[in-house]
Amino acid sequence: MKRVLGIVLAFMMVFAFTSCKGKEKKAGTSGDAKEVSVLGDVNGDGVFTVAYIAVTTTLAPYPIDILNQFQAYADKHEWELEVYDGNGDVNTQTEQVASVISDDIVDLVVLFPVDSAAAVTYVKDFSEAGIDVITITSDVKAEGQSMVYCYVGPDQKNGLVGPGANYILEHFKAGSNYVILSGWEAQYDYIVREASVNEFFTDAGYNQLAVKYCGASRDTAYEEMSALLVANKDIDFVFALSDEFALGGVQAIKEAGYKPGDITVVSLEAFIDSMEQVKDGWIQLTVTQTGTDLMTKLAEVIYSWMAKDSIDYVQLSTGTTITADNAAEWETKLPY
């Protein structure tokens, strides 16, 4: 019985797999002059194919927005976009990189790495396979940057962290206590953001009580902040490295009985959900970071790559500071 049902299962899988066959791009069908002239078509298969290898495309609003913008742009410009979702798992991303290299149909890779150190091996493998790489949002570690065409992302230090850090420096004296709510511990952008906060506050004389890593989870931020509020009664401000964590933190602050402004919260990656909190004074400041901003810059960079132009390694996308003054205006503009 088991064996018969096993065979039925296997044939169901044959059916499922072969049903997906139609979606696959036919490689190596180039030949006529029109196809060869496709801009960016390095391997001559008549299509410009980009592999987007992402840390995630589902776990957080910003990566979701990046994918949506990327897909829309690819559809508009008739690029073939192959999406690989690492789901925050370094082993999965390693498998995907190997898969992209063995497929040998990709002209360009856009990499949003799960882990900056492991990504050094990825870009080295791509380099050996003759495939160019652009990193976005999270860069590879310094050892791998010479093998990357360029890095596209927000100006983590001055553009994203800077407004919040300057706000804090203006409003708090030495001896103030603060906590940082961060994301994934080993991910480049969170490492840079945390380092930037520390750099801004080097001479400020503030006491850093804790750094808590919340993955991509508002709930984890809520739990971490609740525990911090129990353990420390004298937190002056919270520096959240994403609104995802700011919102979890604010929820904990509210439930602990504080009033708006009792504990200052500054953040970045403005969410629609946060605008109400900004208007009500629970979050003092946040900074926009949208997929549209990133895609605008990424498209510019891809066209520079197609034209074989030499450009600066760091290509920064833009952002805007949101406070109670302009939160209502931005509430309708933000994508998530």
Partner: protein, 330 residues
Amino acid sequence: MIAKLDKFKSTPVVRFFRENNSIYILILVIIAACISASPKFTRPANIINLTQSIGTYGILAIGLTFIFLVGGIDLSLAYQVALDGTLFVLMCNSIGFFPALLITLVLGCCIGYMNGTIVTRLKIPSLIGTLAVMTSLKGLVLILNNDSSGRAVEATLFGERLSHFYNIKLFGFLTPSHIICIIFLVALGMFLKYKRDGINMYVVGGNPEAGLFSGINNDRLTRMAFTIGGFCASFCSILVVMRMNTSTYNMGDNLDIIAICSVVVGGVKMQGGKGNMAMCIMGVATIQIINNVMTKLGMRTAMQALITGIVVILVLILDKITSNIKANNA
């Protein structure tokens, strides 16, 4: 109903499948489906990548097979891999490759032995005991991956020799992960088949009371199984590190799920007493082939996880049906 089933089972086609392990046929059909679905599947580079993954994760699954055989489970395997990998990298950077390798393997055995001791001496169910160990190991891994101020350790890269070693190809296709996995399969397969302790492990998992009455030291063999599991986890961690040329705090994530799913799909009984190396590696191959072709077809990770989960559930349902039929027949 049972009479009809018996008649059906005696037909030539079903008899053929009964006489040949269904997993072999299943895997052949899946491979045929993969070739049909994606021409990219059969590219030599992909086959090498795929079999490297089977070799790397297979070693972890081999260790888990031993634990399953004695009726246990080890939920700490993922973080054993992460801890062993992190320590291996840190030690490689300080004391060199061979001492680091040796210490990592010994550490793997020690963690496995500790798990076995928790289960046998403290009489804590392996599910709970190893869950607690997993939590502790997770904390330890995070501590090791941070410097004193709580920031992520900067450079864990220790040169390129190890990743080159991982990708060395003998005869154009045979890589170290293939060779190591084959050695593990043959050596531990022979242990299970020909050595008294290996044979007795089936008794420990299948009928522990009978084992006790036969003078088998169930606890010793359980500890041995967990130790082998820890040893295999440490070897797997070294291969994962070699592949990425670095260690990360989350390098073990999902590896335990992959190993458990693979071993279950291969037909190794979680309740203990049934399984062998062939079943284990065929299960790993099945899961890896399915994952590989889903990646080739551009399926999102969420969909891949869903399908892999469904496959495992279906296999478990089939297993349950078979057990019920056997019980009814008896």
